[in-house]
Amino acid sequence: MTMAASQETLVDEGYNFAYLDEQTKRMIRRALLKAIAIPGYQVPFASREMPMPYGWGTGGVQVTAAILSPDDRLKVIDQGSDDTTNAVSIRKFFQKTADVATTERTEDATIIQTRHRIPETPLSEDQILVYQVPIPEPLRFLEPRETETRQMHAMSDYGVMHVKLYEDIARHGRIVTSYDYPVLVNGRYVTAPSPTPKFDNPKMDSCPALQLFGAGREKRIYAIPPHTTVKSLDFEDHPFEVQRWDQACALCGAEHAFLDEVLVNDQGERMFVCSDSDFCAQRRAAQNGDTSELEARDDR
């Protein structure tokens, strides 16, 4: 297959380790350090044109490329799963350009690049979670102008967001945002968690792992340091709550995991299974014999 053959020699063809040149990495690294120092604030960065389309993870890929070392073990997920096509494609990109070790096991990964989910397995201090972000500005759909939203952040003027949430409650009796649910980071910046389901928001709060966010097309990087408060916006009489399902995962029986609804036949019959493919697979493996792992997982 010519395509695979030509890509396997990417490094030999003169591309740098992890594709990006060193000057670009320095620029991204400076932005990352500032992002960590100002939790939740969107740092502008000179996003490069990557060999994959904007909107398909170029921000996350640039962040990962700038931090990746030969000692890392990389996990890439999309929708919680390691084997969705774009996750496969991005994982392959780093195997080819950095010859990096990869894993599907959440606890074995040092860097996890994700689109739309936070793994169910709790993360540790030694891990870095890199989010792919399409629209980094949480106020964008309330105010399309960057010049305006920048001022709102500068002044902590988040009135439009509170009005929006309040109107939701007035009209629908609840806040009708189910993903990319806005959070307040370190009590200062209203921040977009990226389009993760709000089910995952509580995992961001005081997370021991470093969380990095890359938006390539919109040219922004932001971060949440470990052990930082991340509060989902709500009202006292309408507290934030996460999604829940009436059933457990049909494959592993998990009761507190995010479930995908799968249509199983033309009659519209459906079943619910874990969106986190590694979490589900490990639980099933444990049920089939290795019980030590299952017990370890139930501790959480």
Partner: protein, 202 residues
């Protein structure tokens, strides 16, 4: 500059060592006050310790003006930095994106570095303060993002310098989200006190 004859050693492997150094810096920044020993730092040059030199090599280039405290510009350190990092040097500390100071002599200058603006707080400077020692059992107590409960830190500077540093850091912290971010460097060790960190005397 004629070749590298008179130039000191930077990173042995600029790509890998630079990445490892950055990971050390990022770990420090994400966990304020944690002392991180850089695994494969460059040598020191002139008055710059390996950790301080590593910060500059990792992060500086032609787009980032650098201010060096006058006592650090001797021994051709400036030339080395121009050669290795290509960064322009400035004599005005408020214009430096990066500022390198000694704790004994540079605290007055630290108070003058740029804090960014309310709409672009990321434009605040990164200051590197060389300290005589660093220990995880010092008189300073740190709290804030990146610290689970609190963390202790000692810098090997006298009470007067400590008080002066605390005053500058307190004022810096109060300006949040504006402010500068501080790296502390000693030998191969690095620690960070970003603007989010609240620093108090025990």
């Amino acid at each position: 500059m004629n070749g590298t004859g008179g130039i000191v050693r930077a990173f042995d492997d600029p790509v890998v060592d630079g990445t490892l150094a950055f990971r050390g810096l990022m770990q420090a920044q994400a966990n304020p006050g944690r002392i991180v020993t850089l695994s494969r730092p460059p040598g020191g040059i002139g008055g710059l310790c390996p950790a301080a030199f590593a910060v500059l090599l990792t992060l500086c280039d032609s787009g980032t003006p650098l201010y060096l405290e006058p006592s650090l510009t001797s021994d051709g350190a400036a030339d080395h930095l121009r050669f290795h990092a290509g960064c322009p040097l400035t004599e005005d500390p408020s214009k430096g994106h990066f500022v390198v100071l000694n704790a004994e002599t540079g605290l007055a200058i630290l108070a003058r570095v740029t804090r960014g603006t309310a709409d672009y707080p990321d434009r605040g400077a990164t200051a590197i303060l060389q300290v005589p020692a660093m220990s995880p059992q010092g008189p300073l107590t740190l709290t804030g993002p990146g610290i689970e409960t609190s963390r202790r830190l000692g810098l090997g500077i006298d009470a007067q310098a400590t008080a002066a540093l605390l005053e500058i850091l307190g004022e810096n912290h109060a300006l949040f989200p504006m402010g500068f971010d501080l790296f502390l460097a000693c030998g191969r060790d690095i620690a960070a006190l970003p603007r989010t960190t609240k620093v108090e005397l025990n």
